[in-house]
Amino acid sequence: MSFEVLLALGFAFGIGFGYFVQRAGFCIAVGLAEIYMGHGKRIAKLLALIFAITSVGFLLSGHFNPSLGLKPIGQIRGFGFYNLAAGMLFGAGILLNGGCILGTLRQIGEGNLTFVVVLLSFIPGMAIVVHVLDPLLVHGYHVQKPLLSGLLGAPASYVTLALAIAATAWLVRLHRRSTKGRRGASLSDTGTMDGGEGTSRERRAG
């Protein structure tokens, strides 16, 4: 397959990703804010479902094609210190501007041009690391790429299935809670089905 065809297929898959993300109203920044505020958990439900499906799918891919299967994403740098630091910077950034990577791309697609500014602001941040920090820090990176199953010394299928079942159980628990909360609210408040439930997207999400 030529690289041009690969790019065209990638773009087509991207359209699908974007459509689903927009219709689901998915954004990690919103999900974190919901967790910190202690209510909602709308994005947590979506994340649990995505985890359950994707983890089983990735695991099965190795059985159909040995060149696929589970692969480490990214790298552990500096025995995890750089991952934690980078995560904290990223977490701070998405809470500041209100959009993770998918959230930023979704908002641009929805016509919110503030997120074009956010996207362009990635450039100086990335350039600082590639051209200034990387040359200074590269000797301390000690790059490692372990998988959780290797770290635990357990077969990947057992670890994946255990986590997928846990994610599904969490999803069911969150759904039960939100259903109970909605029933209570509709009985005690206005008596209407949609009374005081927030934005249309939040209502849609339940």
Binding site: F11, G14, G16, V21, L68, Q75, A86, K145
Partner: protein, 145 residues
Amino acid sequence: MPISSRQARPLLFAAGFALLNVAMYFALGKFWIGGSSFLPMIGELGPEKKFLFAFIVNMGVIAGAFLGATSSREFRLRWPRPALLPKAILGGVLIGVGVTLAPGTCTTAFVTGLPMLSVSSFLSAAGIFIGGFIVFQFTMRRVAR
């Protein structure tokens, strides 16, 4: 535990995203990635131009989100408000630093890295939770004052 169609719809779309990610892995041997996909904006295309591929996928994400927004009548052109720009720029720069300092540290950790059982993604997710919490506390205190 009945699930109304209003509640089920976002879950179905999230399931669609997850299945598409798996389908792309089966079909092309590649999965969705976020942060590193923007490195081509500073001229870094990655080994075998994998960042360029991811960048094109994410340009498709914008097109797909536009399609979803127009089909659901949620598309609305909103110009940047000057008061929001400093936060947007600072947030963007922090994201740029974060995603490059440790590859795989972004939304990728949640939708691709954790399902792959990648230990770096578990560490990144912990960092994201802590960093977000600090900013959230700081913001809430300012709002409370």
